[in-house]
Symmetry: D2
Subunit: 351 residues, 4 copies
C-alpha cells in the first residue's frame, strides 16, 4: 500500500466517456495520484487532450490499446467502461496486486442471479464478486480500506441509500412503501450516441423513464435491505432533466407511529457529523443541484409537511462526481490511506 | 350568448405576463374571437407587438389603461392578473352582462377562509364566488356552459385532478396517502423579475420548492375531495425544471385490495374517450412534456410496477396552455357554445 | 395543377428527421393538403405518431417502405432526405407528373462541379437540375409557380440572401468583403446521432464550426452573384447555439462611397412591402430568434453604428420553418396557385 | 508587500453578485489568501454561504455593512460592485496602504471624458485613475506588479485585445476595419433582476444587443490603439447566448498586402509561449466555451479561409473567470509576487 506521501500509479480503462473524463479531471489535479495509462481501443494513439480540450495543459497522456497498456504496473485501475468489462479483467489485475475500482455494475450486486437478470450476462467471476466491497464509504469505510476490488455505487443508489440510512439504521420508518422520485441530468446517460440523448430531443423537455424497471432498483433494494436487516418495498421512478450534471432525489417515507416524536434533523446531523461529503442542511432548506455542481458534495434536507407521518428527504449530488468519478476517487483515497478529501475539496461551480 | 358564427368581443386585463401573451397568441388566431381591449396601466399606449414581437402582424392593439378600456363593451373578459384583481372588478362586469374568466386564484377556492389563509387577503365578493364555476371543463362542462364567472384552474391542479379523476370517481384507491411529485418549467413563475427566475439561477439546475406548503395544495385537495365525496390526504411537492414550458406530474397511489383486478387502462380510456384534450396513451408509454409543447393537449400514462398495489399516473401538459391560457379559451368556447376545439387544434412543437 | 380549393395529395420521402416531422406538423394542419404517403425504410409499418407523439391525433399514417409508397399517385413529393436521394428519384416522379420539392441540396447548386466538390458525389441528373428552380419565393416567385422540380434553399443561405438582396439589387455595397457571422440552433444538425449533437456536448456551450469551409458557402455565393450580376467575396462563419430552433445571421457590409446617403431602412421596407414572410423591423430593432419560433416569419433589422460606412444587417428565422419545412410549404403553395400564407400563418411561440 | 508564503488579507466590496461569488470560490481555495471581510449593505449579517450554498463548508464569513467592514486592515480589496463605487472609496484605501482591484469600469478608461460619456457620471478621482494600471497581465505585467490601483479589464475587451495583440504589435493588419462579433453567456449581465435576463426570456433564444453602442467599445479601442500606436476602427457587436458562462469572440481582420506571407500560427505561439493562461490551439482548431468553463484559461485559434487576406481569430474564455474574477486573482498574484497560477490551476469542467 502506498503511503500518503507517495504517488499512486493510476490506470484508467475506457477513458472516453463522461466518467472517464471526470476521473481525468480529478486525478490530474490529485496531489497523490499519477496517471500512468489510459486505454481506448478505438482512439489508440490520440492524445487525451485532443478529445477533451479542457485537459489541455493538464493531461499529456495518449490513449493506448488495452493490450498494450501497462495496467499491471499500476497501483490501482479504474474501469470507466460498460457493464461486463471489469469482471473480465479483474482477476489478472488482482493477481498482479493491482486494486480495482469498477465504476460500472459488475461488483455492485452480490446476488449473481439478480445481476444476470438485469444485465443480461452471466457473472464472470462470482468468487471475486464475493470478496468485493460496495464502495459507499459512508457505510463501508472499514471494508473499503481493506478491499482488493470495489464496486463503485450507481448514481441514483448513492442518493437514495445515503438519504435513508439514518432512518433505516434506527428502524424509524415503514419498510413496505418507500417512494423514490429521482431526477437526473443527461450526462447520466453517458457519451453514447442515442437519439434520446440528442440536444434537440432532451433540451426543453422533461420525462420519466424506466418506470417499469431500472437497473438501479435491485441495487438500491439490496443495500437498503442490508441496512434495515430485512427486505424493503421500493417504488423508484427516474426522470430526465434538461441539464448536463446534477441529480435530485425526492424520497417519501412513512414514519412508524412509535417514531413520530423523533428529532429527525438531529438524527441526520449526528449520523453524518464526521462525513466530509454529506451536508445535512438546516431545517426547511431546498437543496439545488447547482450547489454541488462539479463537487463531491452530497446535500440532504428534511421536510415534514404539517408535522404529519410523511417524511420527505431531498438529496442532491453531481451525478458525475459523488455519483461516479468523485466517489471512485474517494474510494481510492480510503484504499491507500489518504485523507478522504484529498483532491476532492473543490468548491461547487455556481452560477 | 354569441352564436358560433358571430365574433366574440374579448377583453384582457393584464396582458403583459406570460398567460397574457399566450392568450393573445391563441385568441388572435381564433376564428370566433375579436380582441377588443388589452389593459396595462404601466404600458399604456405601447403597441402590444412592441413588447411581444412574435405578435407583429397578428395583433394591432395597444395597451390601454384599465379605466379607459372598454371592458364593459366586451362579451368576455379574461383576467391575466395577479391574485386579487379579478375579484375587485368582477361585479361591475357581471352587471354589464360580461362573462368573466379569471386565470388567477380568485374564483378557484370555494372556502373563503382557505383563500384568505393562502392568499393573505380577504375575499372581495364571496357571493360572486359562490356562483362561480371551477373551469375544469372535463369535470364541469355543463356548469361552465351556464356560468357567469369562471375560475380557471391552476396548472398543477389541472394535471393532478385529471390524473386522478377516473380512480376517485370509482373509489378504487386509498385516499389517505396520495403523493404528487410535480415538475414545472420556469414560465410557471411568470414574467416577474425575481432572482430565482433568472437564467443564470434556473438554468442547468433542478430543485424542489414550496415543500412546506404551496397554494395549489388546498385547490387540489378541495377538488379531489369533491370528486371522491370525502377528504383526501395529499402530499404535494413541486419542482422547478430548467425548461420554459411544460409540466409533468408523477402521481403515486395505493390501489384498494378489492380493486386490484381493475383494468385501469380501460378505465381511463373510457372515462376520457370523448375528451378532445385528454390523451390516454398506450400502456407503458412515457409521456414527454415536449409532446404537448404549445398545444392544449394533456397526456396521461399509467404504470404499475410488478403489477403490485402501487399505481403510477404520469401526466404532462403545457403549463401555459392547458395549464392556463388554452384552458381559459376552452372555457370561453364552452361558454359561448362553440365547438370545444375551436382555435385550439394546434399541433405541439417538436422538436 | 390543383385549384386552391382542391386537396393536394402529398408524399414525403424520409419522414423521420426534423424537417420531416416539421413538414408533418405543417401539412397535417394545411387546409389544402392531404398526406398520402410517408416513407422510411427503417421504420416501415410504424405509425408516424409513435415516433413523434406531438402528432398523436393529427397524423394517422404509418411509415411505408419507399418502394411500396404510392408516390407516383401524389401531386407533390417532398424529399426530407440526405443529400443525393432526391436526384436519384426525381426523374421517375417527373415522368409521372409529380412535382418535386427537395429539402436537401440536390437542386440548389447549378454548377455540378461545385456540387460534386462539396457533396462528394456526381450529380445524377444534370438535365433535371438545369430545369429546376431555386425555391426562394421572394426572389423567384414566377419561376417557382411554373417549376417541376424545386431546390428548397439551405437555412443559412435563406437568411444571408434575403438579408442582402435589397443592397445587391441596387448595387449599394462593396462586393469583395461581405462577412456573414451566422448562428444556428442545434436542430440544424438533424436527428442523426453524432457526439457533437448530444445534449451533454452542445448544452451550455458555444462554438464556431465549418470555419475552413461549409457547404452553404458556395450556395450563398452563387445566389448573391446572380443578384449582383458579378462575383461576390464572402467570409461565412457558422456557429452552434445551445437552443433547439432558431438562426440569427449578423452580416457586415461596406457601403459604397456614392451610396452613403441612401435611406436603407426605406429601401428594405419597400423591397419587402408585399412579402408576407419578411418583416423589416423598425430602425434600431434587435430581432430575437424566439420572435419567429415555430413560424415561417423572417425578420430583418438594420444597424449603422456612428452612421459610418459599415452597415450591419441582422436576420432571424426558425431554421426548421422558413429555413426548411415552412419554406418548402410556401413553395408548394405557389406551385399550386394557393395564397402563399395558406397553412403558414401560425403565431410564433413566445415564451 | 506580502511574501509568497504569507497570507494576503483580502476584502471584497459587494459580494452578492456573480463576480463576487466567483471571487469567493477562487479565493476560498487560494493557498495564500485569507478572506477578511465581505460587504453588502443589503445583506448585512447574513452568512455568505446562506446566499451561495456552494460555499457551505468553504466560507464562514457573513456579509458586513460597508462602514463596519475592516477594509483598511486588508492587504487588498476587490470591488465587485456597480460602476462608480470603487472610485469613491479608492483614495481612503490607498492612504491606508491597501491595494485596490476594481472589477467594474472605474479604472479602465484613461480618458475621463470618454468615461463620463459612457458611464453617465463624472470621474471621482482622475489623479488616482492616472496612476492606475489596466490589469491585463499579459500586456502590462511589470506595471501591474508595481500598481496601487488596478482596473480589471472588461470581459469582451479581454478576448478582443488578447486576440489581436500579436497582430497589432507587429503591424500586420489593416486598422480601419476590424470586426469583432462577440457572444456571451447570460451571467455577463449579472445577478440583477431584469426581464431580459429571466430564464423564460433568455433560454432557447439568441439575439444581438448593444449594436448601436456598448461600453466595452471605447475600452477595446483605447487598448488596441495603444498597442498599435495609432487609432483603430472597430465594429463590435455583442450577442447573448443561452448558456450561463462562456464567451466566444470571432474577430475578422484584413491582412496587409506585405504581410500575406506571415506564419500567423507561429507568431501567436511565440507571443504567448510563456503565458500560463493563453492557449494557442493547433491550426484548424475550433475552440469551445466549455473547454474553459470555470477555469482561468483563454484559448485562441486562427483560421484563414482559402489562404486569402482575411484572418479570423476565434477566442474563448469563461466570462466570470478570465473575463472577471479569475483575472482579478491573477492580478493579485502578480501584485503580491506570487506565482501567477497560484490558486488558478483548476481544470475546466467538461461536460
Amino acid at each position: 500500500m502506498a503511503s500518503s506521501s507517495a504517488q499512486i500509479k493510476v490506470g484508467i480503462v475506457g477513458g472516453t466517456g463522461y466518467t472517464g473524463v471526470e476521473l481525468l479531471r480529478l486525478l490530474s489535479a490529485h496531489p497523490n495520484a499519477k496517471l500512468h495509462a489510459i486505454t481506448s481501443r478505438k482512439e489508440e494513439g490520440m492524445p487525451v487532450a485532443d478529445m477533451f480540450p479542457n485537459l489541455r495543459g493538464h493531461v499529456d497522456l495518449a490513449f493506448s490499446a488495452p493490450e498494450n497498456a501497462a495496467l499491471t504496473e499500476c497501483d490501482v485501475v479504474f474501469f470507466a467502461t460498460p457493464h461486463g468489462v471489469a469482471m473480465g479483467q479483474a482477476r489478472a489485475l488482482i493477481e498482479a496486486g493491482v486494486k480495482v475500482i469498477d465504476l460500472a455494475a459488475d461488483f455492485r450486486l452480490q446476488d449473481t442471479a439478480v445481476f444476470e437478470k438485469w444485465y443480461k450476462m452471466p457473472h464472470a467471476c462470482p468468487d471475486v464478486l464475493k470478496d468485493s466491497v460496495y464502495g459507499l464509504v459512508e457505510l463501508n469505510r472499514e471494508k473499503v480500506a481493506g478491499a482488493q476490488v470495489i464496486g463503485n455505487p450507481g448514481c441514483y443508489p448513492t442518493t437514495v441509500i445515503l438519504g435513508l440510512t439514518p432512518l433505516l439504521e434506527k428502524g424509524l420508518i415503514k419498510l413496505d412503501n418507500i417512494i423514490a422520485d429521482c431526477k437526473s441530468g443527461v450526462s447520466g446517460a453517458g457519451r453514447k450516441t442515442e437519439v434520446g440523448s440528442l440536444f434537440s430531443e432532451a433540451s426543453d423537455n422533461f420525462k420519466a423513464y424506466g418506470v417499469s424497471g431500472h437497473r438501479h432498483h435491485p441495487e438500491i433494494v439490496e443495500q437498503l435491505g442490508k441496512i434495515a436487516g430485512q427486505p424493503v418495498g421500493l417504488t423508484f421512478v427516474p426522470h430526465l432533466v434538461p441539464m448536463i450534471r446534477g441529480m435530485l432525489s425526492t424520497i417519501y417515507v412513512k414514519i412508524k407511529p412509535e417514531a413520530l416524536e423523533t428529532d429527525f434533523q438531529a438524527l441526520y446531523e449526528q449520523r453524518y457529523q464526521n462525513e466530509a461529503f454529506v451536508d445535512v442542511m438546516p431545517v426547511g432548506s431546498l437543496p439545488e443541484t447547482r450547489s454541488v455542481r462539479a463537487s463531491n458534495q452530497l446535500r440532504i434536507a428534511l421536510h415534514r409537511p404539517g408535522h404529519g407521518d410523511t417524511l420527505i428527504v431531498v438529496v442532491v449530488q453531481d451525478n458525475l462526481v459523488k455519483g461516479a468519478a468523485g466517489q471512485a476517487v474517494q474510494n481510492m483515497n480510503v484504499l491507500f490511506g489518504l485523507a478522504e478529501q484529498t483532491g476532492l475539496d473543490q468548491v461547487a461551480i455556481l452560477p
